[in-house]
Symmetry: C2
C-alpha cells in the first residue's frame, strides 16, 4: 500500500491517516492531495488522525504543510479525530499545530468548513508553515 | 496501528481499509463495527477499498461477513472505491462478492444508501455469509 487514499465528500476531500508516515509517503500524500484539490475544486480538506497514537514533530510539520498548501489552493484544512492522549502530548511537547484547525470529529469538521466560507480571511500568512 | 478507524458520517459509518488485513485485525474490525452500529444506530456502512490492490478470498469473505452482520443489525453495507483491476481479478477468480453491494465512490454509495431505505427487503438470507 504505497498511497493514502483521498476520498471525495461533496465539496471536501477526506484523508484518513492509518499507517506510519515516512518522508516519501508524506511527499506522495502532498502531491496527491494538491492534485485532487486542483482537479475537484474542493473547498475543504479533512484529515482524520483518529488512528494515530502519537503525533510527533514530523507529523505536525506535515499537517502544517498540507494546511498551507491547501490554503493557497483555496481550500481550508481541518484535522479531526485527535485522541485525547495525543492532545495532551502535543501541549506537553510545546507543539500547537500552528495554522492547523481542529475539530472533534468529521461531522464537526464539515460543519466548521461549511459554516465559515471565508475562514481564511484571518490567517493568510506564509504558505509554507 | 492495531485498529482500523470507523468514521461517522451522518447516518452512515465509513471504514477505509488501507492496511494488509489479517485474521486478528478482521475480527477486531468486526467487533468495533458492530459495536459502533449498535451505539450510533447507523443505517449504513461504507467500506472504502480504493487503497487495496487486490481482493483475495479472505478479504472477500470478510466483506461478506461484515455485510451480513450489519444487515442483522439493520444497517446496509456498500463497498466503494474498487479499482478496475480488482474488479477484473475478482471476476476472473470467480468471486462475485455475494450479498455485498458496491458503488463507484463514497458519494454514489451514500446516494445508494439514502435512496433505498428498504434495500434489505430483497435479500434477508442467512446472517452468516
Amino acid at each position: 500500500m504505497e498511497r493514502i487514499p483521498i476520498l471525495k465528500l461533496g465539496d471536501c476531500l477526506l484523508v484518513s491517516i492509518q499507517v506510519d508516515m515516512h518522508d516519501r509517503l508524506a511527499m506522495q500524500l502532498q502531491d496527491d492531495l494538491t492534485s485532487r484539490i486542483a482537479a475537484t475544486a474542493a473547498r475543504g480538506v479533512l484529515i482524520d488522525i483518529s488512528a494515530l497514537e502519537m503525533v510527533d514533530s514530523f507529523i505536525g510539520r506535515m499537517l502544517g504543510n498540507i494546511a498551507a498548501m491547501s490554503r493557497v489552493l483555496d481550500a481550508e484544512t481541518v484535522v479531526v479525530g485527535m485522541r485525547p492522549a495525543v492532545a495532551i502530548t502535543l501541549v506537553e511537547l510545546g507543539m500547537s499545530l500552528p495554522g492547523v484547525r481542529t475539530a472533534l470529529n468529521i461531522e464537526r469538521g464539515m460543519d466548521l468548513l461549511s459554516a465559515t466560507p471565508d475562514i481564511r480571511g484571518n490567517d493568510n500568512g506564509s504558505p509554507v508553515g
